[in-house]
């Protein structure tokens, strides 16, 4: 733990400047700016990929080019596709100097008590997080049970048959413009395969094998949980993650087979310059359970609606999400549940907090296909708005092609009630402490679902976000 805790003042996580740059001469390879077939082919070649992947990328590029920008969600007018490097391969030691990291980010890391090695990774000082030693024995254990846990590039090389079978099947490039973009230029991400009946009782963390391959602009994650298997995957970090890249567009594909259980937990806190446009989808088969737990902080614009397709009777889907929108931030987040089979059930719980002029939107879809009778769905979304400059809106869509279903939808928008503040303050809490406590309580139903260390960090982060903000 860090002992050098800076003074309370001037640390405002949502507001830090993204004023440091990557030295440009430190890459083994870097494509030129912009996107065309030549660059896509070059990416595939650099990675020595099989022909089918090269073709997949090129086909995806065509789809990307043919699709208009979405005319809903957030404002993307400042996003310039021609001003982006789509592929960079870092040299072994990535060379951003610790001195280049802005003071306020460093202070925030200190205040959160982020370990030294991790801090450097998060700030982009180190490309490799030194976790191999710590986690080596766990990894061995998993391998013995036949679990595959690697980055997606390595998986393409080492497990081509699995990739051929599943890659791009849950989210085909035709799905949306950003899925097509990711399909064309993807790099990194995690690949997990859990064999039938194998139950992993600790969360698999991206920290396991964080390296320059793993976390990038266009991550591609593919997870297959075979029949009766169980696992929990955790990615991200509550500390602000600096990225000099303005566009992050990941694709996450999950398959949970009959009787399997899987939970995917994400906590993201991007710096304020980032457009975070993510496509996440799971297919849940008979009697399985799929859960998304999704926390979004930071970024300029996040658009993310984790989806679950309930493919066979008995499948259950659940999405819990929190969004925190601060100054200059728009969180457009929600969930999508598609009931493709009878006797399936889903639940969406969404909580958002808007502060300092931030905007959060809930956008959700519950769809029941024809013939999918006896379905149940329950949607609860609560928004908390902390000041008059901030905003929250709700776009719930329900499409039902079947009579015999039960769908409930509740939405509430609240402001921090004066009476709550006064009550807590009359017991000796300062206004900041009281507001932080109310906000922490608001997201508690979700935070208690997080692994312990994430929950502690999350609460700490909320306190920091709330500091000096009221009054």
């Amino acid at each position: 733990m860090s002992t050098d805790v800076p003074e309370k003042a001037d640390v405002e996580i949502g507001d830090y400047q993204y004023g440091f740059h990557d030295p440009t001469d430190n890459y083994e390879f870097k494509s030129r700016k912009g996107l065309d077939a030549e660059i896509v082919a070059q990416i595939s070649e650099m990675k020595k990929e099989p022909e089918w992947m090269r073709q997949f990328r090129l086909d995806s590029l065509k789809i990307f080019e043919s699709r208009p920008m979405p005319d809903w969600g957030g404002d993307m007018s400042e996003l310039d596709f021609d001003d982006i490097y789509y592929y960079m391969k870092a040299a072994k030691e990535q060379g951003r100097s610790w001195d280049d990291v802005p003071d306020d980010i460093r202070k925030t890391y200190d205040r959160l008590g982020i370990p030294e090695a991790e801090k450097k990774y998060l700030a982009g000082v180190k490309a490799q997080y030194e976790s191999e030693v710590v986690y080596g024995s766990l990894q061995e254990d998993l391998e013995k049970q036949g679990v595959i846990f690697t980055d997606t590039d390595s998986a393409l090389r080492d497990h081509p048959e699995l990739l051929r079978e599943y890659f791009g099947k849950v989210i085909p490039p035709e799905d949306n413009k950003f899925a097509a973009l990711n399909s064309a230029v993807w790099s990194g991400g995690s690949f997990i395969y859990v064999p039938p009946g194998v139950k992993i009782d600790f969360p698999l963390q991206a920290y396991f094998r964080i390296n320059s391959q793993n976390m990038g602009q266009f991550e591609r994650t593919l997870i297959i949980v075979d029949e009766g298997a169980e696992a929990h995957y955790v990615e991200g970090c509550t500390a602000p993650t600096y990225s000099s890249d303005s566009l992050h567009s990941a694709v996450v594909e999950i398959i949970v087979k009959r009787g399997g259980r899987f939970r995917y937990t994400t906590i993201q806190n991007w710096s304020n310059n980032v457009y975070n446009l993510v496509t996440k989808r799971a297919m849940a088969y008979g009697d399985s359970l799929m859960e998304w737990v999704d926390g979004n902080l930071g970024s300029k614009l996040t658009m993310k609606y984790p989806a679950i397709y309930l493919m066979e009777p008995g499948a259950r889907g659940e999405t819990l999400s929190i969004a925190f929108a601060g100054n200059g931030q728009h969180q457009d987040a929600g969930a999508k549940m598609v009931h493709c089979a009878p006797h399936t059930s889903s639940r969406i719980i969404s909580k958002s907090i808007s502060k300092d002029g931030g905007r959060s939107s809930y956008r959700g879809l519950v769809k029941v296909d024809d013939g999918a009778d006896h379905c149940k769905s329950n949607v609860v979304c609560d928004a908390l708005i902390l000041d008059p400059d901030s905003k929250s809106d709700t776009y719930p869509y329900i499409e039902v092609e079947e009579q015999d279903v039960a769908i409930e939808h509740e939405a509430s928008v609240s402001r921090i009630a004066e009476e709550q503040l006064f009550y807590l303050m009359s017991r000796g809490l300062t206004e900041e402490e009281a507001s932080a406590m109310i906000v922490t309580g608001f997201i508690e139903p979700l935070v208690k679902e997080l692994p312990m260390e994430y929950a502690v960090e999350m609460n700490r982060l909320i306190e920091l976000q709330m500091e000096g903000s009221v009054g």
Binding site: S426, R427, A434
Partner: protein
């Protein structure tokens, strides 16, 4: 030296409507005062104004503790000086655990100079303390893990107020109808609880319509509020008399205040 809470010619408005019209009252540590009066006479307004509710603005007059003027202080600063209000309608705070909240609160009160994130009352001693206080009040210890007032019955909420008072050990406690809306068992528990807690270290202002709470906690002084003023002060027998005979005689003796009160009551409907 025992502390003194001194209220001088206090005028309080809510949303620009004058409610309190010159209240004078002195409470010493160790004393019990009863405050009675018909609905709409301004009892809760006085309680909120003393605790520092931002919507209750003092237009003139002062509130002092031991000569220090606290009229302009925020609610939390007053709490740290020893002021406590048991709410007539305790507020629900979803997702905030009783134990976390109380631990934070007592840490601020007992260690007012503590830096954020430091100086929290030790977990072990805190657990021990809250457990024994809860047992004294006949509360299930499980309540410490529940969310503050969330899904509590009326009686449970009032007991939670008394628990907070027990933990915060204020110099001056105002109890706003802590006994109303409770069944007789709950009233007994709350009354006994208060009796155990009050003593030479606490000055208490009991706002009540009932006799039970005062039986267990006999007041040295009884004040009657009408139309935003304290119109009469007596001893415990005045409280008995009001319980037995109501406010008709008081209204007759103070026609001007009675008219104000009638107006306020009409406006409230």
């Amino acid at each position: 030296m025992s502390s003194l809470l001194k209220i001088t010619d206090l005028h309080v408005s809510v949303a620009d409507t004058p409610i309190l019209k010159g209240v004078n009252l002195e409470i010493r540590q160790g004393e019990i005062h009863a405050l009675m009066g018909p609905n709409g006479s301004g009892k809760s307004t006085l309680a909120y104004a003393l605790a520092g509710h931002p919507n209750y603005s003092v237009t003139s007059g002062t509130i002092e503790i031991d000569g220090v003027n606290i009229t302009e202080l925020e609610a939390d600063e007053r709490a740290r000086l020893g002021m406590f209000l048991a709410f007539q309608y305790p507020v629900v705070i979803p997702g905030v655990k009783v134990a976390d909240f109380i631990r934070h609160a007592i840490s601020n009160i007992r260690n007012p100079d503590r830096k954020e994130g430091e100086g929290l009352v030790g977990m072990r001693e805190f657990r021990k303390e809250i457990k024994s206080r809860m047992e004294e009040l006949g509360m299930d210890v499980e309540f410490a893990r529940r969310y503050l007032n969330d899904g509590f019955s009326g009686g449970e909420k009032k007991r939670m107020e008394i628990l907070q008072m027990a933990m915060l050990q204020p110099k001056f406690a105002i109890l706003d109808e802590t006994d109303s809306g409770l069944d007789s068992d709950a009233v007994r528990v709350v009354s006994e609880g208060l009796a155990k807690l009050s003593g030479p270290e606490m000055g208490v202002l009991i706002i009540t319509h009932h006799e039970r709470l005062l039986e267990f906690n006999p007041p040295q002084y009884t004040h009657v509020m009408l139309g935003g003023r304290i119109v009469e002060t007596g001893d415990a027998s005045l409280a008995h008399d009001l319980h037995a005979n109501g406010y008709a005689a008081i209204r007759e003796r103070h026609p001007e205040a009675a008219a104000d009160n009638a107006q306020a009551e009409a406006a409230a409907v």
